[in-house]
């Protein structure tokens, strides 16, 4: 044969992957997977999962695997920018870091010296809240938060106030043992890879996976059963499951009396100031009714409590066990499967069958592990017995204005089944569980010039006294968090900040300082209105929000609306601490944390934001950031990571503390700490001993060790709360009791929604306007291969999701005379947006949906204005409103009335076919953004090859 491909093909079988490999932590999303970055001649050759890493165990998702294109994206900002044209014009001048720091310091110093509240410091998808929150408190402004308020605070608050831990990424199913797994409203989550790995493990073991979700894609696609629920009705569905379990007596009584407040006695004194509070003894301990001894402290070791009935205390007060009140509510006809079936969009028999299935696994197939352990009453148990039914939930539940109560209801369901942190059930991830509520109230009262706030800005109110309100009930915070509008606004309400700042409600601000949040686009509930607020001018032609500082790493839609741009590094170029003080990488197997180390040197004039913040702190003289002589306390961010101590011995990283690195959790700073992390693959983890691994809320060994490690303040039992006393305290205030009471216009609202037991109500937005013209629910889902807006500048990811369509049930479309690929108007009470239709089988027929954040504003991200993202991609945000429909009195956020969680998924729309001349492009199509100066050219053909000449 003259030529022979097989013979002459030169295959380099054993070429080393690169010439260097470094470990660090991925940040193509917030899942914190460990990565190994192979470099070849200083360029990234290959990024792979770190097989030793506890989060991802070697796997990488679609985004993480595309990191090369994020690192080399032409959309990376090049240097600090100062606005020189009108806001939004995109006219910037490149400036030096010196000048940028001077400008920022000037603005901030003025604010701090006059009224620190006038700094609103809001950060987005970062994982450095332990630094940013601390910095804000040092600055002295209560106006700090990250993205949690528009993200999933309903999950956080619902969990932390109920079981002392939460879904989100703070808990996980017992992937190794669960036999039945029910997952509510999850498309991707922050635990992306662990969930995928876990689902596969469950399925390979033959466990049943049930997904409750209006849409059947992703995790729902691999579920054994898909429950295509109607959005916003999960609470009804869950409470109907509870109804069934109670009715059939499929309830784990032992679990309830041991680990929950089911036996605690609730005072029944309608109209009285103590109504609904727990009856307590002289020491303040809640009481229970012991069968033999009557009312005694509920934590008595040999308690034999009565869970139902009504009793009279010695002082004459009438009391009932919390369980009784709970059972009474859910056994009511309102929550019978028949009563909820139609609203949930499923037959009653199905609800009953699912309840029976769950009960069957929980009670007929309990799981016993031969692991002895000791409970908080000092009793040794030879085995750990669990109910192998696990639940998980995320934004499908939380992004509704009834999400807090729905989430609490789900936790109550878990308690009734005895399925919290037991073998086979849902488990806390360290550092959870934490006391309920986990800490003192939020800092923020009495902000004064040049004075730090003591305590945490984002913290945990226990009652009205902890709220951040003026005497007349006016919010103290710009976003109204921790006010009567959102008493448990634990994560702030970023979705209201810009609108309130523009309106001066409750006051005008001077500087809006944002980090890593694309607020002029996909993270705004109403981008065009947000842009209006950012560019609004007063009568003198001054901007209503006088200064906007923004740190982004890329040319996002928000960049043109800032006055000063502080360009950040990429995730491969900087140090980061994924800290136990913020959102660590702990798992149910034990606590852990991680770092990022720079693996690539920036080729632009950019600086890591954390470093900039620390320097700003020093320039402003914030006490924690300067030495006694006023000179900077920290050389750089690594110096801060190693040497900053929040409390003696407690710093950003928990591993290798103490001078010789032998201590965990608490210990003196160790100058070699970062090197020890690097040597270990950039993470630290502590393995819990087997006897600590379950029942952590009542496991004496675990609680003692967790206290020693600084994870919790005391080693007391963490009693799960079916009946929530903090909520009842808010309710009592609304009923006219106590010193701090809601203003008149919010009384009824607080009274209604601060219910100590979960209940279901129609989403607020739907209650407040006539939904008849808007028959369809509209929701979004995260695409697995795209991270919000920031994947569109990635040349590979944008090929997977370059544009998005509106998905509708085929049956529904046919009934409406619509066909696949039709262009349609999606109209809500707030406006309309144009999209192209896709039809599918697996979607609730009353629901339409689309992929989130694919639509881009023309010109942004260094995409050509003709790019599909701008022309055909669309944002559902254009038809979402950040405010509830017009009502009398002050406007209220379109949010959960308890937590302030943005209610993205309460949206109702109508869909109509476009006129023939309207097809082809989306609408609104705001003006093309101007590219900042000195951005790189974009190639017509990309030939990336780290090993070749052609790159």
């Amino acid at each position: 044969m003259p030529d022979d491909g097989a013979r002459t093909d030169r295959i380099a079988y054993s070429t080393p992957v690169g010439d260097e490999v470094k470990t660090t932590t991925c940040y193509m999303c917030a899942c914190r997977c460990g990565i190994r970055v192979h470099l070849k001649d200083g360029r990234v050759r290959y990024i792979e999962g770190n097989p030793d890493h506890p989060v991802n165990k070697g796997v990488l998702c679609g985004k993480g695997s595309a990191g090369i294109m994020t690192q080399y994206s032409p959309a990376r900002l090049q240097a600090p920018l100062k606005r020189v044209g009108p806001r939004g014009s995109g006219e910037f001048a490149e400036i030096s870091w010196d000048e940028a720091m001077e400008i920022a310091t000037g603005w901030l110093r003025h604010v701090r010296e006059t009224d620190p509240r006038k700094l609103a410091f809001f950060t987005g998808r970062d994982q450095s809240q332990s630094l940013t929150g601390f910095w804000a408190a040092q600055f002295g402004t209560p106006n700090f938060a990250a993205h949690g308020g528009f993200c999933s605070v309903n999950m956080a608050a619902g969990g932390l106030y109920t079981i002392g831990g939460s879904f989100w990424e703070f808990g996980e199913p017992d992937w190794e043992h669960a036999k039945y797994f029910m997952i509510f409203g999850v498309a991707e989550d922050h635990d992306s890879n662990p969930i995928k790995t876990g689902l596969a493990a469950l399925k390979q073991r033959g466990a049943k996976v049930v997904s409750v979700n209006p849409v059947r894609t992703g995790y729902s696609a691999v579920a054994d059963e898909w429950v295509g629920i109607r959005p916003g009705t999960d609470g009804l569905f869950i409470m109907a499951l509870i109804h069934e379990l109670l009715r059939l007596d499929r309830v784990d009584g032992e679990f309830l009396v041991r680990y929950t407040n089911a036996p605690w006695l609730v005072v029944r004194n309608p109209g009285g100031a103590d109504d609904g509070l727990f009856a307590r003894d002289a020491e303040g301990k809640p009481l229970a009714w012991d069968r033999a001894r009557g009312a005694i402290a509920a934590d008595t070791a040999d308690l034999s409590p009565v869970l139902a009935g009504e009793f009279t205390l010695e002082d004459g007060r009438r009391v009932q066990p919390a369980f009784h009140l709970m059972a009474e509510r859910y056994l009511g006809e309102d929550y019978a499967p028949e009563a909820v079936a139609e609203r949930c969009g499923m037959p009653a028999e199905r609800i009953r069958r699912l309840a029976a299935e769950v009960a069957d696994v929980a009670f007929n197939q309990p799981l016993t592990l031969d692991i002895p352990w000791t409970d908080v009453w000092g009793r040794r148990h030879e085995t750990m017995v669990g109910r192998p039914v696990a639940f998980h939930a995320m934004r499908g539940i939380s992004a509704h204005s009834n999400g807090f109560h729905t989430c609490r209801a789900l936790h109550i369901l878990q308690m009734l089944l005895g399925a919290v942190d037991t073998p086979g059930s849902w488990r806390y991830k360290s550092p959870f569980p934490r006391p309920i509520p986990p800490g003192p109230g939020p800092a923020g009262k009495g902000a004064k010039p040049n004075t730090p706030l003591a305590g945490n800005i984002l913290s945990f109110p226990s009652g009205p006294e902890d709220l951040l309100v003026e005497a007349d009930g006016t919010p103290l915070r710009i976003d109204h968090s921790f006010s009567w509008e959102a008493p448990l606004g634990l994560h702030g309400m970023m979705h209201t900040v810009i609108g309130n700042a523009e309106k001066g409600d409750p006051y005008k601000i001077d500087t809006l300082f944002m980090f890593m949040a694309n607020m002029a686009w996909n993270s705004a509930m109403n981008p065009m209105e947000t842009i209006r607020c950012l560019t609004a001018q007063d009568a003198d032609g001054e901007y209503v929000i006088p200064h906007v500082i923004y740190s982004d790493a890329y040319f996002s839609e928000t960049v043109p609306y800032a006055d000063l741009i502080l360009p950040d590094t990429t995730y491969l170029e900087r140090w980061d601490a994924i800290s136990l003080l913020d959102r660590p990488i702990g798992s149910s197997h034990g606590p852990g944390d991680a770092i990022r180390q720079p693996v690539i040197k920036p080729d632009r004039d950019v600086r890591p934001f954390q470093e900039v913040l620390i320097e700003l702190g020093a320039r402003l003289g914030l006490p924690a950031f300067v030495k006694e002589d006023g000179s900077p306390k920290f050389k750089d961010y690594p110096d801060y990571i190693v040497n900053h101590q929040r409390m003696p011995g407690v710093g950003p990283l928990a591993g290798w503390r103490g001078e010789d690195g032998a201590k965990k959790g608490v210990g003196e700073p160790n100058k070699d700490q970062l090197q020890r992390y690097i040597d270990n693959g950039c993470f630290w983890r502590h393995h819990l001993a087997p006897e600590e691994s379950y029942f952590k809320h009542a496991n004496a060994t675990y609680l003692a060790n967790a206290k020693a490690m600084g994870l919790i303040g005391k080693s007391d039992q963490i009693v799960m709360q079916i009946w929530s006393e903090p909520l009842q305290k808010f309710r009592l205030a609304a009923e006219g009791h106590g010193a701090v009471q809601p203003p008149a216009h919010l009384r009824e609202r607080v009274r209604t929604y601060c219910d100590p037991l979960p209940f279901w109500y129609a989403p607020l937005e739907q209650q407040a306007h006539d939904t008849a013209p808007f028959p369809l629910s509209a929701v979004t889902q995260r695409p697995m291969a795209m991270y919000h807006s920031w994947g569109s500048m990635n040349a590979w990811l944008r090929q997977i999701h370059g544009s998005n369509k509106l998905y509708m049930a085929r049956s529904r479309a046919e009934a409406m005379g619509l066909a696949a690929d039709d262009w349609v108007w999606v109209e809500s009470r707030a406006g309309r947006v144009k999209a192209q239709l896709a039809l599918m089988e697996g979607v609730n027929p009353d629901t339409v949906w689309t992929w989130n954040a694919i639509g881009k504003r023309a010109g942004a991200w260094m995409l050509s204005p003709e790019a599909a993202e701008a022309q055909r991609g669309f944002l559902l945000n254009h038809v979402i409103s950040e405010w509830l429909p017009a009502q009398t009195g002050p406007r209220l956020a379109n949010a959960d009335p308890v937590t302030g969680q943005a209610a993205w998924y309460d949206l109702r729309v109508n869909v109509t076919k476009c006129a023939p001349h309207e097809v082809g492009t989306t609408d609104p199509l705001p003006a093309t953004l101007t590219v900042p100066p000195n951005m790189p050219e974009t190639p017509d053909i990309l030939r990336y090859n780290a090993r070749g000449e052609s790159a």
Binding site: M1, P2, D3, T217, Q799, I800, H801, G802, S803, N804, A838, M840, E841, A868
Partner: protein
């Protein structure tokens, strides 16, 4: 399949060229076409020009035309390679044929002509087989495809020969052959379409994904939101009504009309007759372009099942 201009031009031109060469070589020794060196020379040159133009055009379809020589190596398995070998090999007797016509060596002309005719037939056969061997495309993987390539080459070649022969005033036999081939072409093409329309697809979305046991398979999301090479190359589609019209044009304009014109040209004779011949040839070639375009445009590739399902 995307109708690639270069490939259409190639098969039409080289098909006609080989057909012309074939009939010239067969009819000339039998004295059924003008015997002069001029006629023979011009006809042979036209044939070779068409063949060469076609082959050159086909190389523009290549991603790496400078490596085209490599295509001769795999004649043992590849019809494309065989076609290349046959095409090149045919140049030898064809060249000799031309030389001996011009030089007036009748025996050599007859022998080399027959060899060239055989080469032409083999080459066109190989061309047909390139298509007919492709299982993923039901419209190509069909027993009438290769005969079609042969017949249509022969038809257009004969029509061209008739025109040339008419110029020299001796057009009877080639024109008659062309007329008959036109009629046969009509029959074959119609039979082919009927058969192809009635043939079930080679595969379905259900078999392509293996998911048929669950139920009807419909695509939900494509792997990439923009198009790609495969879709551009294999995903070309033409509207049914449009195709039906083009089929009529092919049958009527490409076969029936030329055949009638050829048949009419014989009794009419003279320069009017010759004009009719010329018109017939132009129509036949134009019809062939449409036929070849349709051959691509109506061909469906199994890969589209992955993108569009059975739609």
């Amino acid at each position: 399949m995307k109708p690639a201009a270069s490939v259409i031009a190639f098969t039409v031109a080289s098909g006609a060229g080989y057909g012309l060469l074939f009939w010239l070589a067969l009819l000339r020794p039998l004295g059924l076409v003008p015997q002069g060196a001029w006629f023979g020379g011009v006809a042979a040159v036209l044939a070779l020009a068409l063949i060469t133009a076609g082959l050159l055009s086909s190389t523009t379809h290549l991603g790496r035309p400078e490596r085209a020589w490599r295509a001769f190596s795999q004649w043992r398995s590849s019809w494309l390679s065989r076609e290349g070998v046959a095409a090149v090999a045919t140049y030898v007797p064809a060249g000799l044929f031309f030389l001996s016509i011009v030089a007036g060596w009748p025996v050599l002309a007859a022998v080399s002509g027959l060899l060239a005719a055989a080469g032409a037939a083999v080459t066109v056969w190989c061309t047909g087989m390139i298509y007919a061997s492709l299982k993923p495309i039901k419209e190509w993987h069909h027993p009438l495809v290769t005969p079609g390539y042969m017949l249509f080459g022969a038809f257009t070649g004969a029509a061209l020969l008739a025109v040339l022969a008419g110029f020299w005033g001796m057009d009877g036999v080639p024109a008659a052959i062309a007329a008959v081939l036109g009629a046969l072409g009509f029959a074959l093409k119609r039979a082919y379409w009927r058969s192809v329309d009635a043939t079930p697809p080679v595969a379905t979305a259900e078999s392509a994904t293996g998911l048929g046991s669950i139920g009807q398979v419909r695509p939900l999301d494509p792997p990439h939101t923009e198009t790609n090479y495969l879709l551009r190359e294999m995903g070309f589609r033409i509207a049914r009504v449009h195709a039906a019209r083009l089929r009529m044009i092919t049958l009527g304009g490409g076969f029936v009309a030329p055949a009638l014109l050829l048949a009419l040209a014989l009794p009419v004779g003279g320069w009017v007759g010759w004009l009719l011949l010329a018109l017939a040839a132009v129509l036949a070639i134009a019809g062939m372009l449409v036929e070849r375009w349709l051959m691509f445009a109506q061909a469906t590739h199994t890969v589209t099942l992955y993108y569009r399902g059975n739609a």
